[in-house]
């Protein structure tokens, strides 16, 4: 894999829109061309080189291009947006809309990420080692569907409305989850290993979607109905995958755990499922 290094040195307090920082738009270009790629602060155009030191190698194939982003980029938005292949590693924190609408490839954030990460993504893998903000893997305002494929794993906590309008794909949170997780979801899976705050699954329709709560729930909505406590075999298949493919080793502890099954949201005639791991 060829590595292009982008070292952030900008000092602006206005967020930077950096949709061009994606392997798709860098592959096959000369360094001089990459330096001239456009970024925006507000309505002003800038060159990439006005905010980043650029060095390294560029591949001719997007799948073998890695972008390494260094420095404090928490005000840099849209990194990896719409990417289809390749890999991005962000050494620190980063801003909003990371990997939004991405269709493939991999993004790893070693710090934390702001709101709307993975919004409406349809494929690929986002790994956040720190925390994630609000509306992780969700749909944009006015959209009927949020994330429709791919996997997001957050090692820390996540903000509100994570997985809103989730349609397909999987979101895994190893830390705590703020209110309204999976609001309006209509498919897909959310796994939460930390405590899940209230109003999870509000207005969720179902379509095979579920929220698995392995670290407890603050409060269930009254519009979810308890059905049974059992050991769902399908959960073992997911937990095994989480452990083996995504390094979520704590998943293995729940292989033989009983889960309480709730279905709802009855307020909208939904058959979404919420599984809550029984305290052993």
């Amino acid at each position: 894999m060829k590595i292009l290094k982008l070292k952030y040195f900008g000092e602006t307090l206005i967020p930077i829109e950096a949709e061009n920082i994606t392997p798709d738009l860098i592959t096959g270009k000369q360094l001089s061309e990459i330096e001239r790629l456009t970024l925006y602060t507000g309505n002003r155009e800038h060159k990439l080189s006005e905010f980043f030191d650029i060095s390294g190698d560029v591949s001719n194939e997007v799948g073998s291009q890695m972008i390494l982003v260094e420095g404090e980029t928490s005000l840099v938005k849209y990194i990896g947006s719409s990417m289809s292949s390749g890999k991005i590693i962000i050494e620190g924190n980063t801003g909003m809309h990371l990997g939004s609408k991405m269709t493939g490839g991999e993004i790893q954030v070693k710090g934390s990420v702001d709101d709307w990460a993975g919004a409406e993504m349809s494929g690929g893998y986002i790994r956040v080692n720190g925390n994630a903000g609000n509306r992780l893997g969700s749909g944009y305002r006015g959209s009927s569907e949020g994330m429709t494929g791919g996997v997001i794993v957050v090692d820390g906590n996540v903000g509100q409305e994570c997985g809103a309008l989730l349609r397909r794909g999987m979101i895994v949170i190893r830390g705590a989850v703020a209110p309204f997780a999976g609001v309006h979801m209509n498919g897909g899976q959310i796994f939460a290993f930390g405590k899940v705050s209230k109003r999870l699954g509000a207005s969720a329709k179902g379509n095979g979607g579920f929220i698995a709560c392995l670290g407890g729930v603050e409060q269930m909505l009254p519009t979810y109905k308890y059905d049974s406590t059992y050991k769902p075999n399908f959960m073992r298949v997911y937990l095994q995958q989480l452990s083996e493919n995504f390094g979520v080793k704590e998943a293995e502890k729940f292989m033989d755990t009983s889960f309480e099954r709730y279905s709802g949201d009855l307020a909208c005639g939904g058959n979404n499922e919420i599984f809550i791991a029984s305290a052993e």
Binding site: T103, G104, M121, S122, G123, G124, Y125, T148, G149, G150, V151, R168, G169, M170, G187, G188, N207, G208, Y230, K231, P232, N233, F234, R236, V237, Y238, Q240, Q241, M255, E273
Partner: protein, 308 residues
Amino acid sequence: MSFNFNGVEIDDTFAEGFTMWGSRIIVTALNRKWANIAAQNMTGFATSVIACDCEAGIEREVPSESTPDHRPGTAIMVFGFSKGKLSGSMLNRIGQCVLTCPTSAIFNGLPQNESDEMLDIGKSLRFFGDGYQVKMRMNDGLGERVRFWRIPVMQGEFLTEELYGAKKAVAGGNFLIMGEEEKSTLEAAERAVEAIHTVPMIITPFPGGLCRSGSKVGSKYAFLKASTNTPFCPTIKHTFKGSNAPEKVNSIIEIVLNGLDESSVRRAMGFGIKAAVEAGGVKKITAVNFGGKLGKFKIGLRESLEAT
């Protein structure tokens, strides 16, 4: 024509294999006992398409760490004369023998990239859920997409994969072990079956892998399409004109094997013949064929031994 292999006469002939559609599934359960019960039930009454709807057998036991749900599993292979017949047999057998078996779940054992077709058996089975079945998706947008169905049942929930791989496979691999007496011939045949199962993707569909009553096509009775293989019945070797049972042979056991490809069947036959010979007490080994009229695969005994 024959040749000598470790002191045993081997007919220089061939087993005549023919094309069938084959599939492989993995049944898992809470423990080994129930995984095997489900597998044994599913593969019951499936020795030969002469009178059964399909041919099926247990391929191997799969350790927990190698199954999708990390429970003990048993791999089963099913063979049918067409995709439709195979699919129908599998649907009925899974529905009646696996779905009903406590704690069972079922997974595809033949990946899509190794299959000629994917049979939508789980998709049909889901209707048993009467509207309460739940679609389960994995790997959307990342990796190879897999679909399952979760069907609510009285004990809890039954999990089945949606699609099962099937491919054009090879049936009818066989050889006959001819011994001086029943006990040693049986022991040699048992050793042969053990050796055959060291080759992946092979089943021996008869009881314990052995057929003690091989058949020939037709009968003196018009209503019977197959009857005892008179040329190889030692008890009538001097009564039946044209007997193929040698003078010192008083017991013959046939081993029939099916596999997903010709080379696996050939190797498995070779391992089986070798093991039978090494067991001792075997006088001769031959194979059944119809002069090339039945199937397109001519699996020579000499080539089988060379393939091991």
